[in-house]
């Protein structure tokens, strides 16, 4: 008998007769049930706790200028790799002639650079950002750059995991999910040497959110 049949056969024989524990209903903690302004406020607070940077902007057109400003604070980072999402391409990059943009997304191009991507949602429960793979979004953009800027519209903030799954399913087309759903809770870190937290383990050492009204 092959392994699959043998394992499944064994499991079937061991299945308890009748009365399987029911698991109807669902449990959501209060921290995942905020709405409206309260939800946005909790997102800000949680994102800060995860060591994310946050700029609040009232218009999309302010995004390039704000990125230039933040990069200026960090130091030299003359090129910004911009992900293929249409809302990013249409930003007024001509307003910031000092900042060169690149659309290159291969692994060597993204390694250690500054990059900007959009996201699918963000969770007020934890402060994390949700990035999903599709034709316009390479998964590696959340991992290979050193500085990751993420454009987030206020309306994309959801209360908790339940909202994340809904947003991810929409992006996947129907009940299926996109290949990758990455829920990113701030910069990459490790505590593996003497339990001391060090930022920038394998992923970005900085995650900066551009939170835009609307």
């Amino acid at each position: 008998m092959d392994a699959r049949d043998e394992i499944l056969g064994k499991l079937a024989r061991k299945k308890h007769g009748g009365g399987a524990t029911g698991i109807s209903g669902h449990m959501k903690p209060a921290v995942a049930m905020k709405t409206g302004e309260e939800m946005v406020a909790q997102f800000r607070e949680k994102a800060a706790k995860l060591s994310c940077g946050l700029s609040e902007l009232s218009r999309m057109s302010e995004v390039p200028g704000e990125i230039e400003r933040v990069l200026g604070e960090i130091g030299t980072m003359p090129v910004l790799h911009v992900s293929d999402e249409p809302e990013l391409a249409s930003l007024p990059w001509e307003d910031v002639p000092g900042l060169r943009t690149s659309r290159e997304m291969d692994r060597d191009a993204l390694d250690g650079v500054a990059a900007l991507s959009a996201c699918a949602a963000a969770s007020a429960e934890t402060g994390a950002l949700v990035l999903t793979s599709d034709a316009d979004h390479a998964t590696a953009i959340g991992y290979l750059p050193d500085f990751h800027f993420v454009l987030l519209r206020k309306s994309q903030i959801v209360s908790g995991f339940e909202g994340i799954w809904a947003a991810a399913r929409t992006n996947g087309g129907n009940r299926d999910l996109p290949r990758a759903v990455n829920i990113i809770g701030g910069p990459s870190r490790t505590g593996d040497i003497e339990a001391t937290m060090v930022m920038g383990a394998h992923g970005p050492r900085s995650v900066h959110i551009l939170l835009v009204d609307g």
Binding site: I23, D134, W165, G185, G191
Partner: protein, 483 residues
């Protein structure tokens, strides 16, 4: 359980026979004792603070227990549903009765694509299988990418703790290890600071990620409804392993399944809080199938290896409850035995209370008879377990079995008395007395030890806790020892 001559019987190599000897040695190891202090006090405090912020935590644990019980009662059905969804999404599912079979499958998948190098993210199941030596025998170079796992791989050790594999080492030891191992990449300068060590590992491993032919990950959860695997990490290495190489293989136990995404949410709420008191891990990721046609990146193949290796034998036995385990490590941190002797004394990749139940089930009680005895039956493990596994009871079952059959060699039997003796000397007291304890006493004077239960969540605070004057606890401790 399975007859011993069965070629598909569970397999796991352990050196648990030497537990008592290892334990005595560990008690004298000052550096190790410093590392253990972090788990015993720091992680336990972080957990308590983290969960105190979620009033529903107790109810969530009840529900998690019920969901897992429901899954275990219908395990075959959920696995079939999972398999169907994986295939529908363009992936493949492989079934392995035991370690040899799993290693053979993974070896074959690597050979099919002519793999020269493999990059791995932390997976306890592959440790259980001893996959790395198997692949190396095939001439494949295997790189662990979780920083802690990478360090112990270079040092040829076994993980010290399921969540913090290398926390028994000092930065000087890591520095020596890197200095030796990284010469081949032209890195001849010795780095000693923690930040620099992390940076160096990042630079060296980044190239491995980019060049590896195959990425191997575990899976913290499998979602039956969508055919997805869920990975929970802080470093981002699992995601690079699942994205950059052309081939992704996920290796995991058959018990890791949850029915729906909603259920997954429940476990994602429990796991980081139980492990480190955090609201969330840095990276929670779901992977469903290989790269889609229009995707700019991702692997071309997506293979899942479902490993039984003794799990189906536990089902329906008095050890069934153990299959609910989500590997959070909370029972290790709370255990007076683990926090006295450390993970390596157990001689098994699974240590602490959960290891004392898993190890005999997978390796056979004859090889691990000491472990269920390594308990004071204080009940702390059950108290902290997010899926409410009655660990002391399960250890008791093993003791009964073992006692009936007299598997423990005479002279090696650790009576309850010995463990009461250790537990009667709390880690803090032992540290303060055994090493002169200048640092600890100084810290106690400053009031930080007393403040422990009251500090407010998060890793940053954890660092502050251990670093009242800018260094880690171990540095303070080392300084105290030298002065």
């Amino acid at each position: 359980m399975t007859p011993p001559n069965d070629q598909h019987a569970p397999e796991m190599h352990v050196t648990s026979e030497r537990f008592s000897e290892n334990a005595r040695h560990a008690l004298d190891d000052k550096v190790l004792q410093g590392g253990l202090f972090i788990f015993a006090k720091g992680f336990t405090a972080l957990r308590e603070i983290g969960i105190s912020q979620v009033p529903e935590f107790g109810d969530m644990r009840d529900r998690a227990r019920d969901v897992k019980n429901h899954v275990l009662e219908n395990l075959g059905d959920y696995l079939k549903q999972f398999e169907e969804r994986v295939i529908a999404n363009g992936g493949r599912v492989h079934w392995a009765r035991n370690a040899s079979e799993a290693n053979e499958i993974i070896g074959r998948l690597c050979a099919e694509v002519n793999a020269k190098t493999v990059v791995k993210s932390k997976s306890m199941v592959t440790e259980e299988l001893e996959l790395n030596p198997h692949l190396e025998k095939q001439g494949i170079e295997v790189f662990e990418s979780d920083l802690g796992e990478y360090i112990i791989q270079l040092r040829k050790e076994k993980p010290f703790h399921i969540v913090g594999p290398a926390l028994h080492l000092t930065k000087e030891q890591v520095s020596d290890t890197f200095y030796e191992a990284h010469q081949r990449y032209g890195r001849t300068e010795k780095v000693t600071e923690k930040e620099a060590l992390v940076r160096e590992a990042r630079i060296v491993l980044r190239e491995r990620f980019k060049q590896a032919d195959v990425g191997i990950t575990g899976a913290n959860f499998l979602v039956a409804e969508t055919g997805s695997i869920a990975l929970v990490t802080n470093e981002g290495n699992a995601d690079l392993s699942a994205t950059l190489p052309k081939h992704h293989i996920a290796v995991t136990g058959i018990e890791k399944i949850v029915p729906t995404l909603e259920d997954l949410g429940l476990f994602l709420r429990l796991l980081p809080r139980s492990a480190l008191g955090l609201d969330t891990a840095n990276y929670l990721s779901l992977y469903t199938g290989p790269k889609r046609d229009s995707d700019p990146d991702g692997p071309e193949t997506f293979d899942i290896v479902l490993v039984d290796n003794g799990r189906s034998d536990m089902l329906g036995s008095e050890f069934q409850d153990m299959l609910r385990c989500i590997r959070c490590g909370a029972c290790l941190n709370g255990c007076p035995v683990f926090t006295s002797v450390g993970g390596q004394a157990y001689g098994s990749v699974y240590s602490g209370p959960m290891g004392a139940v898993w190890t005999p089930a997978l390796a056979g009680i004859t090889h691990a008879a000491n472990l269920p005895n390594a308990s004071t039956f204080c009940g702390k493990c059950e108290e902290v377990c997010p899926v409410r596994i009655p660990l002391p009871n399960l250890m008791r079952h093993w003791r009964e079995r073992e006692f009936e059959k007299h598997y423990t060699p005479t002279g090696q039997r650790w009576g309850m008395g010995a463990w009461r003796w250790i537990a009667g000397k709390p880690a803090l007291y032992r540290l303060a007395s055994s090493m002169g304890g200048r640092v600890l006493r100084a810290m106690a004077r400053k009031g930080w030890v007393k403040k422990l239960p009251g500090f407010a969540g998060g890793w940053t605070e954890m660092r502050d806790l251990k670093a009242p004057e800018g260094g880690s606890f171990l540095e303070q401790y080392e300084k105290g020892r030298r002065s």
